[in-house]
Amino acid sequence: MSVDAATVRKIASLARIATTDQEVEAMVPELNNILGWIEQLSEVDTAGIEPLAAVIPNTLRLRADQVTDGGIRDKVLANAPQAEHGFFAVPKVIE
């Protein structure tokens, strides 16, 4: 599988990264080089092999349904580029 400029633009848009035509042009061969190389995995016979998600056997824990943290709104907002009235502020979404 290989990517062309249109595909790179689409991926960049999915990833919400603005790109210039020049950047896209440079990325096409770079990504194809990497994708061509990872293509080698198709040689491996993985019939009947379950995908590995957890490397060390571990069980997900449950905890009591209690509030253990919170009440730190100002700390949470302290690093916001724009905080107003105790909220994160963003450009107008609905006209």
Partner: protein, 493 residues
């Protein structure tokens, strides 16, 4: 008397305890060393006041006979660990100016154990890189130089390149690192120091800027194996804030250290003899085999048949997880916001991320987005997870006939800055020996074992069974005791 900055973590701890010197003297010596080594660019932020405050607390604790395990020991903190009140950037423009309101669990554990912080160490941006050339804050320069008189600036390895350079230059006695595909071990090998990545789940990931969550593990980097054991004890332990944290007691690794490998079987994986391996790396490996035999181990030939697919597997899984993890940088809650005139929310996301991420980070996000996108998910991501299962199974089978594995850490000595960054793929290949253990979540460490013809350090890697950090540390110690590695870079900075 030995210069205070030449002391190991154990030496500082014991000296403060025995009253040979004060913790404040130690902190002042290292603060001065840090201030005098700006040419290395190892630090993004220096925090001498933190080191001094911890030192004063240690001296007070000494007077009150109330010393903690790391009282008096100042360390460097990779700038991937959140530190309350201190800028934490992951070496990115995206997080420039970000001051976390909380500590990463590992950082908090080290501070609670009495350690002070000399500063936040430079790294590859979001820990993505093998040479420390992707940092927004500039390259870290290795303190080492080739003996050919050329003085070409060398890579300290990556991504924990600030950590490795600072330790090798003796401006910090030890530092934290993180390892996703080799980011502790490869820089340790490049700079002639030791570093261990423990079993996945030993150290909490809480508060570590996430790269690839199923692979990321914190670990210590230091000048010797004992120091690694001391620090790993302080850093490890269950943390309810990390869903993959292992709920197990932390062993007394330091107290149990032994360089006697009698009865141990050390496996030599034949697939690690890769094509084009430099003769010097082969020779180093042979030397390592002789050293572990001398320590009482028997050496057995083992096979890890899927080794050659590990890198390709890694470069699907790690970017996939990264593209998901780095989706959080959207210019809303923290970090950079780039809001062009008249831009809407979507434009703001795209502009912020275009401006805030460097080229290698973007490359990996795009690869990850592609392999996870509709129609390609099974062909790439699920396939890689299946091959990952086979790689883990290879290790399980090998460990039926041996206790530990011995390999070179990296396929070469440190390369010069700029030598490999034109081709991303050439850079990725540098992780060939470290990535398989990461994929399988196994403990692994690098110890210095010799120099190449140009006078640069080379490292050997020991890989252990899950949770057998003790076996890994013991084999590391056995090599350290016998290799007699004492080279250090001559100060030019």
């Amino acid at each position: 008397m030995t210069a205070l900055t030449d002391l190991t973590v154990a030496g500082i701890r014991d000296g403060v305890r025995d009253g040979a010197f004060s913790a404040r003297e130690v902190a002042e010596a290292f603060n001065a060393a840090v201030a005098g080594a700006k040419a290395l660019n190892a630090f993004i932020v220096e925090t001498p006041e933190h080191a001094l405050a911890a030192a004063d607390a240690a001296d007070k604790a000494k007077a009150e006979d109330n010393l903690k395990p790391l009282s008096g020991v100042p360390i460097g903190m990779k700038d991937l660990f959140a530190t309350a009140g201190y800028q934490t950037t992951a070496a990115s423009h995206m997080l420039e100016g970000f001051v976390p309101p909380y500590h990463a669990t590992v950082a908090a554990k080290l501070f609670d154990a009495g350690a002070g912080m000399l500063g936040k160490l430079n790294l590859d941006q979001f820990a993505m890189g093998s040479s420390n050339e992707t940092s927004y804050f500039g390259n870290v320069i290795s303190p080492w130089r080739r003996n050919d008189g050329g003085n070409a600036p060398l890579a300290p390895g990556g991504s924990s390149g600030g950590s490795s350079a600072a330790i090798a230059a003796r401006i910090v006695p030890a530092a934290t690192g993180t390892d996703t595909g080799g980011s502790i071990r490869q820089p340790a090998a490049f700079t002639g120091i030791s570093g261990i990545k423990p079993t996945y789940g030993r150290c909490s990931r809480y508060g570590i800027v996430a790269f690839a969550s199923s692979l990321d593990q914190a670990g210590p980097m230091a000048r010797d194996v004992r120091d690694c054991a001391i620090l790993l004890e302080a850093m490890s332990g269950f943390d309810a804030k990390d869903a993959t944290s292992l709920d197990l007691p932390v062993p007394d690794w330091e107290a149990l250290l032994s360089g006697d490998l009698t009865g141990k079987r050390v496996g030599i994986p034949r697939e690690y003899r890769v094509e084009g391996m430099p003769a010097e790396i082969e020779a180093l490996w042979e030397k390592g085999i002789a050293l572990v035999k001398d320590a009482g181990a028997t050496v057995v030939d083992v096979s890890l048949p899927h080794t050659r697919y590990a890198l390709a597997t890694y470069y699907i899984i790690a970017p996939a997880e990264a593209s998901s993890n780095l989706a959080r940088y959207d210019g809303v809650r923290y970090g950079l916001r780039d809001l062009p005139d008249g831009a809407n929310l979507q434009d703001m996301y795209a502009a912020t991320r275009a401006d805030g991420f460097g080229p290698e980070v973007k490359r990996r996000i795009l690869i990850g987005t592609y392999v996870l996108s509709a129609g390609y998910y099974d062909a790439y991501y699920t396939k890689a997870q299946r091959v990952r299962a086979l790689i883990a199974r290879d290790f399980e089978r090998a460990f039926e006939t041996c206790d530990l594995l011995l390999t070179p850490t990296a396929p070469s000595a440190a390369f010069a800055l700029g030598e490999k960054n034109a081709d991303p793929l050439a850079m990725y290949l540098n992780d060939v020996f470290t990535v398989p253990a990461s994929l399988a979540g196994l403990p692994a460490m690098s110890v210095p074992a010799g120099l190449d013809a140009k006078g640069l350090p080379l490292g050997l890697q020991i890989i252990g069974k899950p949770l057998d950090e003790q076996g890994v540390l013991d084999a590391g110690l056995a090599i350290e005791q016998r290799a007699g590695f004492s080279a250090r870079p001559e100060a030019w900075w």
